[in-house]
Symmetry: C2
Subunit: 534 residues, 2 copies
């Protein structure tokens, strides 16, 4: 391949367009069992399996998807990413021009990491974290009354919030006894007020997370918390820690007990396995469990270099997604974990995927003439079944789904009611939905008809442990990267958030500067909404 290009220039794509005219009919009698689909339509890895018998694909489609992956050198591009090539860029125009190395901060378990510089930096930060956690544990670091810190308030937004928060929620049963974490993210003052009403600031480590050290929402919430600490006679410098870029305004030992560094080669939405997630998770569940989490992610990063799509789950997931989105014309993707612990994980993926692949120009700066990233959303089952599944089954919009399930519950606190455990009921519902969406059902009553042919896959693991959480996270991060390569877009910048920031400053000036330019759009807008000048 001379230069980076998109799927429409490949031979495989021509073939796939042909095949998409008659996609596999999942509603035909025996369709799910034909050709050993149940047994053979599976990608396998150490910690996870991906079942896709309920996707609208057959052997010919799968062959062409493999060919597409090969023609576009997807795995080679992934390898280059992991090895530090500058892929966060748009050719010929001003762009971020950065490496993309979130994988490096978990490449800790090999004697020869693929990008030793970044992994070396990760080792240093982890060592700092290990020491900090040990001091908290052994009583070297105590609060002003000589009591241990038992709570963390994590202040961040976007990438510094959603990923870490969703993983904290997912791994709640693995915490050190007595420790809790609270999160403040929104600039809405009610967000901070709620958290501050619940915590005892005297025993809190306040963890402020901002790569630039200048994120407006985060700094505002930090100031709010600091001034409340001062009002209560506490010394913020003895309780606040920073996760920030080296030499950022927040990298200041006079104001922070510790600073942990994040680096510009890791984007916010990919930063859960960096100090952005690790500092908080380490406080909550201890250093060893953070390492398990990182090891799970590292396992998948290595597997994502497999060229065989049956051995590379993120690659298979990416290809099936493009099949559904670009060739079968869906617009959405529902992420449906059958695990309450993952209740915020779809929100993290919504961020990670939509911010990465919600783009309209390719890596050469040209407008694309095909669809890029889908709209991503989801809620855990079985709750969702009692909510939006009506539309999934009988609506006019076909929404492909990615289910996530586990053989065992986390806590094992279960009970047999009416002949089965809760976990068995949960799984039965999961399997039933996968099948029902695919096969549908005919009926004489038109209101009881289910069209079927609504594609889904199932990512399955033994149990949601720290290691498996790391693996699932890494599967999605790699999937998003692969889809970005297929669409030939830069998945790693976010220019689309800039215009809002600029206009917000103009509105803020209009709101806080009474006299100026009273007929500006901003002034008129504000006057309308508030019924008065501000």
């Amino acid at each position: 391949m001379e230069k980076l290009t998109d799927m429409t220039f490949t031979r495989a794509w021509q073939k796939l367009q042909q095949l998409a005219k008659t996609p596999y009919d999942l509603t035909a009698a025996g369709a799910l069992e034909a050709e050993g689909r149940l047994e053979n339509y599976v990608s396998r890895s150490r910690l996870l399996k991906l079942y896709f018998a309920t996707e609208r694909v057959d052997n010919a489609v799968l062959l062409s998807l493999q060919a597409l992956a090969d023609e576009l050198l997807l795995v080679d591009q992934f390898k280059e990413m992991r090895r530090g090539k500058i892929i966060n860029r748009i050719e010929g125009v001003e762009s971020e021009n950065r490496q993309v190395l979130h994988t490096a901060c978990r490449d800790l378990f090999s004697s020869s990491p693929v990008e030793p510089v970044a992994t070396g930096q990760a080792h240093l930060e982890l060592e700092k974290l290990r020491n900090f956690l040990a001091e908290l544990h052994n009583g070297q670091l105590l609060n002003h009354h000589g009591k241990p810190f038992d709570t963390m308030v994590h202040i961040g937004i976007g990438g510094s919030d959603l990923g870490p928060r969703s993983i904290y929620e997912a791994l709640k049963p693995y915490g050190i006894s007595g420790r809790k974490v609270f999160f403040i993210s929104n600039v809405d003052p009610d967000d901070a007020a709620r958290v501050l009403a619940e915590v005892n600031l005297g025993t809190c480590i306040v963890n402020i997370v901002s790569k630039s050290g200048t994120t407006l929402e985060t700094l505002t919430n930090e100031r709010l918390v600091r001034s409340l600490m001062e009002e209560r006679g506490l010394d913020p410098a003895k309780q606040c820690i920073a996760v920030t870029g080296e030499k950022s305004p927040m990298d200041n030992p006079n104001e922070y007990l510790r600073s942990f560094y994040m680096f510009d080669y890791i984007g916010g939405r990919y930063s859960s396995t960096s100090m952005v997630g690790a500092a908080m998770l380490g406080f909550y569940m201890g250093f060893d469990r953070v390492m398990e989490f990182l090891e799970g992610a590292a396992t998948v990063d290595y597997e994502a270099e497999e060229s065989d799509i049956y051995k590379n789950i993120p690659l298979m997931l990416a290809l099936l997604g493009v099949w559904n989105h670009n060739l079968l014309n869906s617009t959405n993707l529902a992420i449906l974990p059958y695990s309450q612990a993952l209740h915020r994980f779809p929100a993290h993926l919504q961020q990670c995927d939509m911010e990465s692949n919600g783009k309209s120009i390719n890596r050469q700066g040209e407008r694309v003439d095909y669809k890029t990233g889908p709209v991503i959303w989801g809620e855990p089952g079985t709750n969702g079944q009692h909510a939006f599944y009506q539309l999934l089954h009988q609506g006019t919009e076909v929404v492909p789904a990615e289910f996530i399930g586990f053989a065992k519950s986390q806590t094992g606190q279960d009970k047999n009611v009416q002949g089965s455990t809760s976990q068995e009921k949960l799984q039965s519902n999961l399997f039933a939905q996968v099948v029902a969406l695919a096969t549908g059902q005919d009926s004489a009553n038109p209101n009881k008809r289910f069209e079927g042919n609504r594609p889904s896959s199932l990512l399955f693991a033994e149990q949601l442990t720290p290691k498996v959480m790391g693996a699932i996270l890494a599967v999605y991060e790699a999937k998003i990267a692969f889809q970005g390569f297929i669409w030939n877009i830069n998945s790693f910048d976010q220019e689309g958030v800039q215009l809002g920031k600029v206009l917000a400053k103009q509105f803020l000036t209009a709101m806080t500067t009474p006299a100026v330019d009273s007929e500006s759009l901003e002034k008129r807008f504000i006057r309308q909404l508030f019924g008065r000048e501000q």
Copy 2:
């Protein structure tokens, strides 16, 4: 109108299809200010205003939308609904054949309610609730150690969970000091385990919510909690209350301290203002604040009978939604509240809207040949700005948005940082997003180009109080009903959830009955996933 029909049979629709070929261009210079749009493109009601200058409509479109509403007798259909007509039905086939009277349970503030029977029942249940809350308050009802109950565990799923939970979250600052509510919904055993690890069961009222009294998830969680209470020497019959249908298996004074009734004319997803929400909210914030919440909803129900779309916010919202969805061909709708308190409200609307309008047959049982309900999702701003807004601004999919904002924060605990308060920053960001999505921005750098013409509206109120929460909820309930009328579908059944239930039973049998039919699809599926027989 001889019989109920859909929008495609109206004259207004022909006109709208013409107009949709050249929708208003929001990116043209001065487009937002032309024709007094900022001042005139507003629907007003007592508690709320709806700003839609940033929708792709002009005066001609608005006239035709009004004509569409008139031709389809939308307001008349709404009036019939409120007055008890059996509209939960499909002509000529077996269907639920029920009234739709969620509005009746808040029509409490008029001396002549429009459907006196149902409102009479609501009054009776509220009186029971008032007495129960008084007994909790004045010490008549105490726990086995003579201490007051300070916690409620609310067990329900779907409609019995999402609405009440999202409103509890929204109104958290209005609680009675010291009272808390926890929710268990998922059949995932880890959901119950988490809640039970956090509460002191000895001071809990356990509120079990199931209309039929047979919801599998809810009953399972109830059994789990009851047996734990028994293990700890507590008497569940003295701490459990039921919200259920009269004469359901749960309407049993031997097992429940109290039963509050819900009626088959109120669907689960519309039940937040019935006892389903009121029992929990009453425990949390007291009877008077529940009445304020209901009054806010009642206000909007009456306003929804206005035929003028400038005075009827839900009707305007419904029509703008159909314009975007059916005529400008969007598939999604993002609900974006600029209030952290509303962080679960989009999930409730996702349920309420997608379960209501995710249908493919009309009220005569015929397959529709147009799109019905959109996919609904959302997260609060400013958080979302740091997450998925990239796609909203620069993705290949146009996602219309409904913003929600408030003049004041709930708690007023705010601080001036860098010359402005958090609330001012929050609002500036809200207004900036509304404008940025509409106008877009050109640039020499293709990566800094924003196409604009991404439509949105802004629902705005003074402050998120119980009354305003009731009003916002009722706006969306009425909006969904109006859109159902426009699409000529039955928004009040949910046959699409049945197939999954049937198949789940088959899987459960296969999982818990080792020997039977070992080559069934279910058995083979399970064997694959678990690598063994169950």
